[in-house]
């Protein structure tokens, strides 16, 4: 999503909450039994004021960000945000209020305000809220299956690792390097008037690296991004494991469910140096071989966003835009989003993914469902108050709020491309391409407000000629149209090549909220795509 933004500078990384001691990140917070008593204050108050439905989310959101550049620690930030958000339906209309005064009195006042907001807005509401039924789950819990809580790892250990990576990158040709480690823990308690009391402990981690090589004599500089992904994992992701490394084409090492930051820093420094003298791409039509940590972002923009039902219906028209994937196309049951090789699934349960939870932020048990099956558009992403608009009776379970003090709404689940069914490796794929380009990792990206026309680049780009990697190239970006692109898919590597890309701060809504989401796929080939040369002489 593009930010609108004010002023002259880029949008900063969102840092929510107050700063705390590192040790407090391990404090267990309020006991579940106490949360239940407090949540019931909200639910009972709402019902007493005539609300037909209410839910309460007591949330404790912990973040730790460690920033380094070259041989320096720039900053270490620990934050905690704790409060309650109460959402009600009164007079057929939503109302929401939140408070960090998590006491019976504070909650009662906030609930009264939520009901008042609902009643006030009901005067200008034209259609009553219709909620798809969901069963009450009783008292249940869910936890990200982590092996090592990142919040329990001393900052000094993280700093040592980041500075070691920086030092090795500098020794291997980097002029500058930024290395940041983000760790997130959402402790969320959800209760609703339908009998759910859900306690969840969600963990995410993201090592972000950017390496710059400079040639001062020519005034040229090149950047290479790290090839690690944000994951729904603990600190175990940062512990290298050779069995989780994947050899890509062109000698590039890629990572599945474990990352080797230091090895990637060394490789990245050498590659950034190599970019300084690599030739510029010849524009034209190429067969593209897209590596998962690259294709994930294309999936995010060209499949994830256009199939959000609120976009399709016009609720996001003023900010992110609407969608080409309109209801009339879906209703034909024969709209070729892609060709028959293309199967795109939404999944809120995928292990290690950023979007994995047991229950969404309105208490619906999470699941996996088809969006595109055998190339045909078969479904959207919808939550409880939307599914009736596509004649369905069950929410997909993809409602999310970034915090206790923001109202929950439909957010993108993990959306992934299923791997090919026949054994087929990246080497097989390169061998089969006569004139192609292999793109690795995240580069520039842009797509229109209805998700037709897009342009993407990679962090590493290689030319393929007659079945072999010819060498690294610069200035390549591909432009295509979503439907044409997915219909030009000609081959997908098998599950051995499957990995996840992630977006840690995906923005949507006004006021904007962030969420984190993964996109899995294997290396995939797309034929005859237009590649432009982005080099300019100024």
């Amino acid at each position: 999503m593009a930010g609108a933004g004010a002023g002259l500078l880029a949008t900063p990384i969102p840092i929510l909450g107050k700063s705390i001691y590192t040790e407090e990140l391990l404090n267990p917070g309020m006991a579940v039994a106490e949360k239940k008593v407090l949540a019931d204050v909200a639910l009972n108050t709402a019902k007493g004021l005539g609300a037909s439905y209410a839910d309460a989310r007591i949330g404790r959101y912990l973040n730790q960000y460690v920033f380094t550049r070259e041989n320096k620690v720039q900053n270490t930030v620990n934050t905690e945000s704790f409060g309650i958000g109460i959402r009600v339906i009164a007079n057929g209309t939503w109302g929401f209020s939140s408070t960090n005064d998590v006491t019976p009195d504070g909650i009662k006042k906030a609930t009264e305000l939520a009901v008042a907001v609902a009643k006030a807005n009901s005067k200008i509401q034209t259609e009553d809220v219709v909620l798809a039924p969901t069963s009450g789950h009783g008292e249940v819990s869910w936890k990200t299956p982590i092996e090592k809580n990142s919040m329990a790892v001393p900052v000094s250990e993280k700093v040592d690792m980041l500075l070691e990576a920086n030092s090795q990158a500098m020794e291997n040709g980097a002029d500058y390097i930024t290395n940041v480690l983000f760790s997130v823990n959402e402790q969320k308690y959800f209760a609703s008037t339908e009998g759910s009391y859900i306690d969840q402990d969600v963990h995410r981690i993201w090592p972000f690296m950017s390496i710059t090589a400079v040639d001062k004599s020519t005034g040229k500089f090149k950047n290479r991004q790290g090839l690690g992904a944000p994951m729904g994992m603990g600190y175990e992701y940062m512990i290298p494991d050779a069995s989780e490394e994947v050899q890509g084409a062109g000698g590039v090492t890629l990572y599945r469910n474990r990352y080797n930051l230091i090895a990637d820093a060394v490789a990245g420094a050498k590659q950034a140096r190599e970019m300084l003298t690599a030739p510029s791409v010849e524009p034209g039509k190429y067969d593209l071989v897209l590596e998962p940590n690259h294709l994930g972002l294309t999936i995010h923009e060209s499949v994830g966003h256009p199939l959000e039902l609120d976009r399709v219906l016009g609720y996001e028209a003023n900010y992110a835009g609407t969608s080409f994937a309109t209801l009339d196309k879906w209703k034909t049951k024969e709209f070729n989003y892609g060709n028959e090789l293309v199967n795109l699934v939404a999944d809120k349960t995928q292990k290690y993914s950023l979007g994995a939870v047991g229950y969404d932020d309105e208490g619906v048990a999470c699941k996996k469902w088809d969006l595109v099956r055998d190339g045909i558009l078969v479904n959207y992403q919808a939550i409880r108050d939307q599914v009736h608009m596509i004649d369905q009776s069950e929410s997909h379970g993809c409602c999310y709020s970034q915090s206790w003090n923001d109202v929950q709404f439909q957010r993108m689940p993990n959306v992934s491309l299923e791997p090919g069914k026949e054994p087929y490796s990246i080497n097989d794929m390169v061998k089969d391409v006569e004139k192609g380009i292999y793109l690795v990792g995240r580069g520039s990206y842009s797509i229109d407000q209805q998700r037709y026309n897009f342009q993407f680049g990679g962090t590493l780009t290689y030319e393929i000629e007659n079945g072999e990697i010819k060498g690294m190239i610069n200035d390549a970006a591909y432009q295509s149209n979503t439907q044409q692109f997915w219909n030009s898919c000609s081959k997908i590597c098998d599950e051995n090549d499957y990995r996840m890309f992630g977006s840690f701060f995906d923005g949507k809504g006004q006021p904007s909220q962030v969420s984190a989401v993964s996109h899995g796929c294997s290396t995939t080939r797309f034929d005859g795509i237009n590649v432009i040369n982005t080099g300019r002489n100024i």
Partner: protein, 438 residues
């Protein structure tokens, strides 16, 4: 109410500072009352209000720095937050780039506050939504919009005697109007510190007209075209260009502002000689903050004069390294314009394209400041001095440096996103592909 007066804020910070035992201590206190309303499909979707306040203490022992934050300001909490920042500082690694707190500074009186904006209530916000929705419905158009207002204060005090205080208000409004047949879309944006300047009905009408006029757009070939850029269209590219006005990244050799062979481009002509850009916190139409979060005063500063780079921003650390005075990033950009109205610019154009807005702008090559993005919500073909017909949206790949070198005419200035930007006519703007998006 989260807004403290100058004397109330001073009192709280003085009490907090009295607990400091560190080599240096700096306190930032801020608070905000804000409200918003969002609508779509010609009905209100959400509305909210938020009030918050925060006190941030930064303590240092030498170059070891710790920061702690608190939302309650009783005596016990104030002492606790200062102690906590000191303990964190003792535990932290040395920050090589830390600069000690500044001494007393002189600041201009900010012009960002308006009583009228501070008094906005939910009824006013609802009336903004109504002023969009009702005329839209009457024209078979669907409105989706967002209005947000705030009143806030920020203040700082440190152990070296610095004190700064400022109040501000503001509002931002955007609305997208789509014709109900799905073939036309229009958009408008308005932002002011003083809501007295804002006319929601008039703004909404511009978007409605664009939605209706942009129906049934025709495709024309991508390529290089003369364009008339509304200020809301060019501001995104200009904002990105100003992001590179940073001395450190230039000196480090990794910016468009880096000079071949080393150093930076201060003194070099980079764009057409008619381009003059400065920042001025005291501008009446687009006022900005008169000091930075570090306590540096913001003064009128020229960035581009007759197309020549006059200044780059220096943070305190980099200024110290280079032996120059620190110069903060601008908080507004004021680009000199001309007398021509939009109508005049269109009248003087034989063949060209009018662009309402650019969307999803992303860096393609930081070396040349090449950006890609798309036109959106009202793109029109101009022939022989008049708008001939709407055209389909384009993707562009263009650098604001090339754009400002290809300047034909500067028109009148308009406030957009807190800046003053003129209408511009530019030749050879590079559109690289067509988009079907409406």
């Amino acid at each position: 109410m989260a807004i403290y007066s100058k004397s109330e804020a001073q009192e709280i910070m003085k009490r907090a500072l009295s607990y400091s035992k560190a080599d240096g201590c700096e306190i930032n206190l801020s608070g905000s009352d804000s409200g918003n309303i969002r609508y779509a499909r010609n009905t209100v979707s959400t509305a909210g209000a938020r009030s918050n306040q925060q006190l941030v203490v930064q303590s240092n022992f030498g170059k070891k720095v710790g920061t702690a934050t608190i939302e309650e300001f009783d005596e016990k909490s104030l002492e606790k937050v200062v102690r906590r920042s000191e303990e964190l500082a003792q535990l932290s690694p040395e920050s090589e780039e830390f600069m000690p707190p500044l001494g007393p500074q002189e600041y201009d009186e900010s012009k960002m506050y308006s009583e009228k904006t501070a008094a906005i209530d939910p009824d006013y916000r609802a009336s903004v939504a109504k002023a969009s929705i009702e005329p839209a419905k009457a024209k078979d158009v669907t409105a989706a919009g967002f209005f947000e207002d705030y009143a806030d204060f920020s203040t700082m005090m440190n152990s070296n005697g610095l004190f700064a205080y400022e109040q501000s208000t503001g509002m931002d409004f955007t609305v997208t109007m789509r014709s109900n047949d799905g073939s036309g879309s229009g958009w408008v944006t308005r932002d002011y510190n003083d809501v007295g300047y804002f006319d929601p009905a008039m703004a909404s009408q511009i978007a409605i007209d664009k939605a209706l006029e942009s129906r049934e757009a025709k495709a024309i070939e991508p390529g290089k075209y003369t364009v008339i850029l509304e200020p809301a269209a060019s501001v995104g590219l200009l904002r990105n260009m100003f992001g590179s006005f940073n001395a450190r990244s230039a000196d480090e050799g990794r910016s468009f502002m880096s000079k071949e062979g080393g150093g930076n481009k201060i003194g070099e002509k980079i764009v057409d000689e008619r381009i003059n850009v400065y920042s001025d916190p005291l501008n009446e139409l687009a006022p900005a903050s008169t000091w930075t979060g570090e306590g540096l005063p913001r003064k009128k500063t020229v960035w581009l004069e007759n197309g020549v780079v006059k200044n780059l921003a220096y943070g305190r650390y980099w200024a110290d390294q280079k032996g120059v005075a620190p110069l903060p990033f601008p908080s507004n950009a004021i680009m000199d314009g001309g007398d021509a109205s939009l109508e005049d610019l269109i009248k003087d154009t034989k063949r060209g394209i009018l662009v309402t807005r650019m969307w999803y702008i992303r860096t393609v090559d930081p070396q040349t400041l090449l950006y890609t993005g798309l036109t959106r919500d009202g793109t029109f073909y101009i022939e022989n001095g008049r708008l001939k017909h709407p055209i389909k949206n384009f993707r562009f790949n263009e650098s604001p440096i090339i754009m400002l070198n290809n300047l034909e005419t500067l028109g009148k200035q308009v406030r957009v996103d807190g800046n003053l930007i003129p209408y511009m006519k530019v030749r050879d703007f590079t559109f690289t592909s067509l988009s079907d998006a409406v």
